[in-house]
Symmetry: C2
């Protein structure tokens, strides 16, 4: 059971490998992968051992080989279509963030309830009326819903996404959302990043 922290680390290792390839590196050690992601070498080896025996003792990991393995684990060859609901400040920033597409995640439908925004273009897409969400999405085969609406609107938006077949929800609104067991719900709270940052700021050297 690798757990959410482990998958996050695998995704971080994968990005380090991509930038090392650009630098023309052939081998990488668990120490190097650890250093670049803030983990220790033993943690790196343990994470990778969930998925098989990769490295050679003393030599480290063959970069291309490890990159292929992690790409398979993260299914990077798949491209996933996403719907985004709530085209405000946060929604707009996510729409224009190039990394999503580079990593295989494409926003293909965007919705809002603001009369002044519906019909406008953002990030190459037309903002559609959230009341039309169900007829529009039931044809599209979208697997992920990104929710960037105010807290009060969150539960209803999530329910509608589930009704049209979305099975994974990335929720940014700071409100408790309930979903059936078969749904993968992930809440993002960037204040957690600040807790972590300040913990290491205040415990520098003693960790």
């Amino acid at each position: 059971q690798i757990g959410p922290s482990g998958v996050t680390r695998i995704a971080l290792y994968y990005r380090v490998l991509s930038s090392l390839t650009e630098e023309g590196v052939r081998y990488v050690s668990s120490e190097e992968l650890g250093e670049r992601t803030g983990n220790n070498a033993a943690q790196v080896r343990k994470d990778l051992s969930y998925f098989g025996n990769f490295g050679k003792p003393g030599v480290g990991y063959d970069l291309t080989d490890l990159q292929d393995k992690l790409s398979q684990i993260l299914r990077k060859e798949d491209s996933r279509k996403m719907a985004l609901v709530g085209v405000g400040n946060l929604g707009s920033a996510l729409l224009s963030y190039d990394r999503f597409k580079e990593e295989g995640f494409q926003i293909t439908a965007i919705f809002d309830n603001d009369r002044r925004k519906i019909g406008c273009q953002r990030g190459g897409l037309v903002i559609q009326d959230v009341t039309e969400l169900k007829p529009i999405l039931s044809k599209d085969g979208i697997s992920i819903g990104i929710v960037t609406v105010p807290s009060a609107a969150t539960q209803k938006v999530v329910d509608e996404l589930i009704e049209v077949g979305v099975r994974a929800i990335l929720n940014f609104a700071p409100s408790r959302v309930t979903v059936p067991d078969f749904i993968i719900l992930q809440n993002v709270d960037l204040s957690i990043e600040l807790d972590r940052l300040s913990f290491f700021l205040e415990n520098k050297g003693s960790i």
Copy 2:
């Protein structure tokens, strides 16, 4: 050495305890804390044991007691002042996100280089000219800098924040930034959240 993943989990446990207090709960088990954060009970016990012996076997953890302990670990009684540079879509969304202040992090100065924005109000603060960053910040005692500018501008903004005494940087721009050893630099990449979400979507039941 607790490591970044461990601190992230401690911050998640702390938030679960806050919502359980609202529900009037007196004791909480490592199973319950694990379930609500997507980790297993053994991981919860291991994380907490870094900081001392809390819980009684069979009874679980006294909620108020554990909350106090985690609040001390995360230094929740401290209030930290932050500067934010780049008041665009993402910067504006972070400015109006109430959770930051609730968790003890307050943005007290905001900067941009767009003539049309300088002098305007956002989130109760006046947008200041980034060319004035050094004289303005050297008086304020700000410990954290949030960087939400385009990639090309990132390194220069980070260098200036360090020059005025900022020691921890939360960088959102997708570019490699170099900082001296005594600086805590944390890069945020929300595509990592999508990797994690889709991993559990595709591996449901088999984990």
